[in-house]
């Protein structure tokens, strides 16, 4: 059923509030609110300026270039695109089963990406929200306050991020624009010295990850009811799971649950994702809204990402993270599993899992093998899916007889979460903004809900001189009534 706050029945006489652009999320997005004379929210929408030049950028290129060039689609998670494209092109070159060395090296690269991405999000993007409160003054929601309150947290965040980047550098071959994964496998293995180098720090990373899960658990315990209900909504969920139902972020089949928890599809073949998922457009948003064909657009939308994955799998196949998953699901009578802020906790559990998997892999001699790639009967179409840090990522290519890409379709995790993020901000609007005079701390509640998803709205272009935040109040005719601006140094002016 369509949320009444998606489109107001009567827009006349309402004030318009725009949060544009959002801070601490990537790329270009804005939120618009329509408010009546009593400050009651009549409409709330998240608009994301989705860049649809992906296909044009890729089409006409030789397919073997694609795993490298797609990294330039997004400066935030290039490794995710590198691997999803490689998986799709495995099919093109007829590589139905990779060598153990190739499979494990790609997994190591992927878990390095998950680790560094989750560490950055928690320690530097999300922790101010959780530590200082959603309505804290903007001057307190900054790194100086965080560094003063907990300098060790800041230091660990940097070093954990660096460790993940080192895993990527050694597996992808370079710090950025890596070439490690190729259609059919990988182009280099990991030397014993490189494995030993990474092993030096992995146990510290595991210990710090455990601490991070404990830290987030304590934060939730202190404000359990508030965190459980903040931006809460019911929806289905989608993620990959392994053949045994365990968490697998690199490969597996699609598991899709209804909001009730019922499994609608299990181990579905992602190479036929269009049998399960389709997309609709809405006139007010550039970004599409995916939904399950079988349930339709009103009931078939779903969420992806850490919260969906932790709730979707039957277990996590590493011991420390599995213990934490059970604690998470049991906490507050299970209410966090459906809470928007539960994303933060789930993300830390995944970070711990990634650290454990990295440790396992670094002890595996297959990483240093020489059997790097395979090929087989050439195909014209390939689909690759991975669980990127923010959720399910789909790459789909068609290649002609001249090895040129003639069609490309990408569905990124932020697109999957489009309706879910809209549901979250509408709920926050009801809970916190309705009937109140709008202030910057109050509007920050909206951003807190969006940041929980860690959306990547990235265009990977961040030239100097962009304005971080501007909120405008206008009447129904568009006449500007008020403007609140936060400059690049965090100063708010009216």
């Amino acid at each position: 059923m369509t949320d009444p706050l998606e489109t107001t029945a009567d827009p006349s006489g309402l004030r318009r509030v725009a949060i544009d652009p959002l801070t601490r999320v990537e790329g270009h997005g804005k939120v618009t609110l329509l408010i009546n004379a009593d400050n009651r929210v009549q409409q709330a929408r998240l608009h994301i300026v989705e860049f649809r030049g992906f296909e044009k950028f890729i089409q006409g290129r030789p397919f073997w270039e694609v795993p490298v060039m797609v990294q330039r689609l997004c400066g935030i998670c290039p490794v995710s695109h590198h691997l999803a494209a490689s998986k799709a092109l495995d099919t093109i070159v007829g590589a139905t089963r990779l060598t153990p060395t190739a499979d494990k090296l790609r997994r190591l690269m992927h878990y390095g990406q998950i680790f560094q991405s989750h560490a950055l999000h928690f320690f530097h993007l999300a922790s101010p929200d959780l530590l200082f409160g959603f309505g804290a003054d903007a001057a307190q929601r900054n790194v100086v306050a965080l560094a003063k309150a907990d300098p060790e947290t800041v230091r660990r965040g940097v070093l954990m991020r660096k460790f993940g980047q080192e895993v990527i550098r050694l597996t992808a071959g370079k710090r950025i624009h890596g070439t490690g994964s190729i259609p059919g496998g990988v182009n280099k293995s990991l030397s014993r010295n490189e494995r030993a180098y990474l092993r030096q720090d992995i146990y510290t990373m595991i210990a710090w990850s455990r601490d991070a899960v404990a830290m987030v658990r304590d934060l939730f315990a202190a404000r359990a009811d508030e965190f459980a209900e903040f931006g809460r909504f019911e929806s289905g969920s989608m993620s990959l799971v392994a053949a045994d139902g365990g968490l697998d972020l690199y490969d597996g089949g699609l598991r899709i649950r209804a909001a009730s928890g019922e499994i609608l599809f299990d181990h579905a073949d992602y190479r036929c994702y269009w049998d399960y998922i389709t997309e609709e457009t809405k006139p007010w948003s550039y970004m599409k809204f995916p939904y399950l064909r079988s349930l339709g657009p009103d009931a078939g939308w779903y969420r992806v990402g850490p919260l969906a994955r932790i709730g979707n799998c039957d277990f996590i196949p590493t011991p420390l993270a599995e213990i934490k998953r059970r604690e998470f699901l049991a906490f507050a009578e299970g209410r966090m599993a459906g809470a928007t802020l539960g994303y933060h906790w789930a993300r830390m559990i995944e970070m711990l899992h990634a650290a454990e998997r990295i440790k396992e892999l670094l002890h595996d001699d297959d990483l240093s093998g020489n059997d790097l790639s395979v090929s087989g009967e050439r195909q014209g179409r390939g689909v690759g899916v991975i669980e990127a840090p923010r959720g399910t990522l789909i790459h789909h290519y068609r290649v002609d007889e001249n090895d040129q890409v003639i069609r490309a379709n990408l569905i990124v995790s932020t697109t999957h979460n489009n309706q879910a993020m809209n549901a979250a901000i509408r709920q926050v609007a009801r809970q916190y903004l309705d009937g109140h005079e709008l202030t910057e701390p109050l509007l920050n509640h909206i951003e807190v809900a969006i940041r929980a998803f860690d959306p990547c709205l990235s265009c990977a272009t961040h030239a100097l001189g962009q304005m971080p935040l501007e909120i405008e109040l206008a009447d129904a005719s568009g006449r500007l009534l008020d403007r609140l601006t936060r400059d690049s140094e965090g100063r708010c002016t009216r």
């Binding site: 801070t23 990537e26 030049g53 950028f57 400066g75 530097h124 790194v143 230091r155 100097l464 971080p468």
Partner: protein, 152 residues
């Protein structure tokens, strides 16, 4: 102790490539004591790259700088980008300070860009701005320039 040139931008987004292209041009000169590093965006872990350098030149494309480029001296600041995947130069220096690292002598080179579209090449005006910026960096890295600044 070395001089670090840290440049960022997406090489496939038109003039956003200005930073990486400048780093590439300077690296090709093999200047003694000069290390070049590129990335898509400034990130927190770059604080560790900055830690051991004596002089730091940060380089990015800018949509607002006066052509061909602007030079400034950023100072540590806790601006909102600190909590972002794409940090500002001031925010990067703030992370360095928070980690207790000594701050290098830091300069920011903002090269004017005009268009930032995926798949587009460098614009003609950006090519000219890049050439001028490379000349400036060659001078900035020369022993003569360093000596002159110390004396003044």
């Amino acid at each position: 102790m070395h001089t670090l040139i840290l440049a960022w931008g997406n090489p496939s987004r038109g003039d956003d490539a200005l930073g990486p292209l400048l780093a590439e041009a300077i690296a090709a000169l093999n200047l003694p004591g000069v290390v070049c590093l590129t990335d898509f965006q400034l990130q927190i872990e770059h604080a560790l790259d900055v830690r051991d350098c004596q002089r730091l030149l940060l380089v990015d494309a800018s949509a607002s700088a006066a052509p061909p480029f602007e030079i400034s001296r950023p100072q540590p600041a806790a601006d909102p980008s600190l909590f972002s995947h794409a940090m500002s130069p001031a925010a990067l220096l703030q992370v360095c300070a928070d980690l207790g690292h000594p701050l290098p002598e830091t300069w920011l080179l903002a090269i004017r860009g005009e268009q930032f579209v995926l798949g587009e090449p460098l614009s003609l005006s950006a090519q000219k701005h890049l050439a001028a910026a490379v000349d400036w960096v060659r001078d900035w890295t020369s022993p003569h320039h360093i000596t002159k600044r110390v004396l003044t």
